[in-house]
Structure formats: C-alpha cells, structure tokens
C-alpha cells in the first residue's frame, strides 16, 4: 500500500517529439528494406532520399521545441550514457552514408546506410526506455516494440510504394508479413510488461491504441496480403492498403504513446507519519 497524488501526464514532450519517433522510425525501416530488397539504380536512390527526408523531418520537428536550438550540436557530447547522443551519431552516419550511396549509386553503401538506420531505430527505442520517470516507457519491451514497429512501418511504406509503381517481390512480402507478426507479438509482450507499473489512464489509452495496432495494423494487413497473393487483380489495391494500414497504425500508436499515455511516476509514500498517541 502506498499513498500519494495520482500520476499526471508529462508536459515536457509533445507531438513534435512524437514526430521524431514517427518519421524517424518509418524512414529507418524504409532504408533497411530498400537496401536489401534488390532494388537498384534510380529506384533505390528515390527510396533512400525519401527515407532520409522522413528521418530529417523527424529531427527538424524535434529541434523546434528544444529550448536552445542554437546549441543543438551539444547533443553529441554524451555518447557514454545518453541514447539521444547515440541517436544523433547514428542519424549522422545515415545521412553521410546515405548521401554517398545516392551519389555513387552503390548498393554496398546503401546496405551500410541500412545498418546505420537499424542502429538509429534501436537508439530511438532506448531513448524511451531510459526515461525512468514514465512507467509506460521505461520497460525493455518498449524498446523492442519501437524497433520492430519501425521496421514494419518501413516495410509497409515500401510495399505500398512498390505496389503503386509495380509489384513487390515475394521476398519483400514475406519480410513484411513477418514484421507484422513480430510487431503483434512485441505489442503483446509490451502490454504484459506494463500491466502492473503503468498508470490506469495510460493503460486505457494504450489498450485503445493497441487494439487499433492489432486489428488494423496486424490482422487487416495480413488478410489484405493474402488477398493480394490469391487474387492478382486485387493486389494493386490490397497491397497498398496493407502497407498504409501497417504504417498508419504504427504512427498512431507512437503518437498516443508520447502524447497521451506518458503519465509520470507521481509520488508515493510507503508509510504515513505516525504522530501523537498510537
């Protein structure tokens, strides 16, 4: 039994911080699948530029709310313990390698960019996990959920774009299906790990967001993928829809996670003071 005021929602990070996880995750996921999908030439260049634009949009978004934007370079001073510093280094590597890959049209460089993007997505998950003041964020399962949803969103975006401009390879669809299933499982693990620690209003918000993630972000895209594979004439509609559903539900989940479910620890007294006679 403990006593104290109920936790309240943090007011430090808003939708602009959420956009960093939303755009950054999807961009990183897109880089990964684009680099290993067998794509080459201008198609690979376009996908990579779009993915880097997404990551850049996320970073610009999070740059606006910082109190001292002209000191933004100071973000790189603590690689020893800060996942935010590590994220910034990974982002730097993504842009340097990515732009070189685009310039030279090099697949090995694109794949090196994808590795940096994986590190970037992992760092984003660890940023949330290190926020000890927010019970719904500080569990290791969230780090993995954030990482896996980044891969899933990127795959969804890639499938949607590929279906519009042609037809995605079977290996890409297999990767997308696996990512969808992994994300569903990661959500389930995450939900279990916060059952006792997160504030009740946070759980209410997350349950709603999780329901959307499972129904419209896992089951629906898998059904659409199956439809697309069984009926070729439906694939031009089913595959983009599956990709967009995976992307949009991942984004809504992260938006809710940062802006609606981030209740703090509150205060808690394990004992009340004993005064006067007993």
């Amino acid at each position: 039994m403990s006593f104290g005021p109920k936790p309240w929602h943090q007011t430090s990070w808003d939708f602009r911080a959420a956009f960093n996880f939303i755009f950054g995750g999807a961009g990183a996921g897109l880089l990964v699948i684009a680099a290993f999908s067998g794509l080459g030439g201008n198609s690979l260049r376009a996908e990579m530029l779009f993915a880097m634009a997404l990551i850049g949009a996320g970073l610009v978004s999070v740059w606006f709310p910082i109190g001292r934007p002209l000191r933004a370079m100071n973000v790189g001073f603590n690689p020893f313990t800060s996942w935010m510093t590590r994220e910034s280094f990974a982002a730097g590597a993504v842009f340097v390698l990515g732009l070189a890959a685009v310039w030279f049209g090099s697949t090995p460089l694109a794949q090196a960019t994808a590795v940096a993007a994986l590190v970037f997505a992992y760092c984003q998950g660890r940023i949330l996990q290190a926020a000890k003041g927010i019970p719904a964020w500080r569990v290791p399962a969230l780090g993995w959920l954030n990482f896996i949803t980044a891969l899933t969103e990127g795959a969804g975006l890639f499938v949607a774009l590929s279906a519009v401009f042609g037809s995605p390879a079977k290996s890409v669809l297999a990767y997308f299906s696996l990512a969808l299933i992994a994300r569903g499982l990661a959500w389930s693990t995450y939900r279990g790990s916060i059952a006792k620690s997160a504030a009740r209003p946070a759980l209410t918000v997350l349950d709603r967001a999780g329901k959307v993630l499972v129904q419209f972000g896992t089951i629906a895209p898998l059904v659409l993928l199956l439809l697309g594979m069984l009926a070729a004439d439906l694939s031009r509609i089913a595959l983009p829809l599956a990709g967009i559903a995976a992307l949009a539900t991942g984004w809504q989940f992260k938006f809710m996670l940062i802006t609606r479910a981030a209740y703090n620890q509150g205060f808690a007294l394990p004992h009340l003071p004993v005064r006067g006679t007993r």
Partner: protein, 218 residues
C-alpha cells in the same frame, strides 16, 4: 568522503510552505517554478482520515537518471553527491524532465514575473541563463561552497546550509553529511524509521523521509 543528504521528518511538517517561499527567495525562481515544494496529502475517508505534508524536490540521486540521459553533459554529479546543471551547456531538450521520477525539473521558456512586469528586485536578480534550459534544486550549492570556504559546517551553520532547511519552522528538514556517523542526519536516521521515495527504481535518492521511531522504542 562527504555525501550531502536531506532528511525530512514527516511527523513534524505542518505544510506551512515556508521552505518553498525561502527557496524561491534564495534562488529567485520564477512563478510556477518551485524547486522545493510541499505536497499536501489527504488519505482515507471520514472519520479515518490522515493527512501528510511531504517536502519534495530534486533527490540528488546516487545514480541520477537525469544525468545518464542528458545528451549535452550539462547535468553532472559532484564528488559530494550534489547533482548540478550547467546552464551554458544545456540545450533544453527536456529529456531529463521525463527521466526524473520525482518531477523535480523545470523549464521556463519565457521570462515571467509575479506581477507581470518585473519588480526592481526581480529585475536585479533575473538570470537569462536560466531561460529555456532545465533547472532544479541545487541543495543551495553556492551557500554550501561559500560557507565551507569560510570554515563553516553545512547543516550546522545557517550560512552554509540550504535555505529551505534554515527557514523550516518545525525543524522538519535537516541537512548534513550522511557519511559522517556523528552528523545530525546520520543520528536522525539511526534513531528513526525512514524510507526513500520510489526506492525500487534504483536511483538511490539522498532525500530521506522519517515516519516513525525505531521499532524497539515504538
């Protein structure tokens, strides 16, 4: 090695907020920023109602999560355990604020004053360095350092002691070196039952709350 710690005897606190007022005065914090504040908790239902006043603020943790996450190294820990913020390095990302389980950190983006326009005193003490960066309780580190330089003892000599402790009308708050077994705080903790807030998180807060006498005496 000296390790500064704060002890609050919850049996004594009457919730007068004098510590809050003295902190605001000593540190010239703007409106809505309370480095030292006192929670007013009411527990239970009539007639079995209990009330507790709980001073809170930065706990100057042994393993401060705010320091680990800080990307700019603005948040640091001194050898005596005091957690500090370098206002010239801080980028105001607020990562420390979401990492702190004690809601101890503040960020004020615009200069605000108690009555709209700055009074002469507010104008004189206004520090633009503190705008748009993280701020928090410093255990009145300037007073401690200046006092010690004069050979005074923090927690004993008021000139070297945090303002909130000096101002407390009920002697709820005590400050001292927890590594010294003869210090006031060590003595208080030896004689009473105490807890630390959110100890299960492993942050090692150095703010101790006394709630009862030791079992044998109780």
């Amino acid at each position: 090695m000296t390790r500064w710690a704060m002890v609050a005897d919850l049996r004594r606190c009457v919730g007068c907020q004098t510590c809050t007022a003295s902190c605001k005065h000593a540190n010239a914090t703007p409106p809505d920023v309370q480095w030292r504040r006192v929670l007013d908790l009411e527990v239970g239902e009539y007639p079995a109602v209990k009330r507790a006043f709980v001073p809170v603020g930065c706990m100057h943790c042994d393993d401060p999560p705010c320091m680990a996450v800080c990307p700019s190294t603005a948040t640091r820990k001194r050898p005596d355990g005091i957690v500090t913020i370098d206002y010239d390095l801080c980028i105001g990302c607020s990562y420390c604020a979401v990492a702190c389980p004690y809601q101890a950190r503040y960020k004020t983006d615009l200069a605000t004053f108690a009555y709209g326009k700055a009074t002469a005193a507010e104008e004189k003490r206004f520090d633009p360095k503190r705008l748009a960066v993280a701020t928090k309780c410093t255990f009145c580190v300037d007073r401690i350092d200046a006092g010690m330089a004069k050979g005074l003892k923090p927690g004993v000599d008021p000139e070297a002691t945090p303002a909130c402790v000096n101002a407390c009308i009920t002697q709820t708050m005590s400050f001292g070196d927890i590594e010294d077994p003869h210090s006031n705080v060590s003595q208080l903790l030896a004689e009473n039952q105490f807890f630390r807030m959110h100890e299960e998180l492993g942050t090692g807060p150095r703010f101790y709350y006394i709630w009862d006498k030791k079992e044998a005496e109780a």
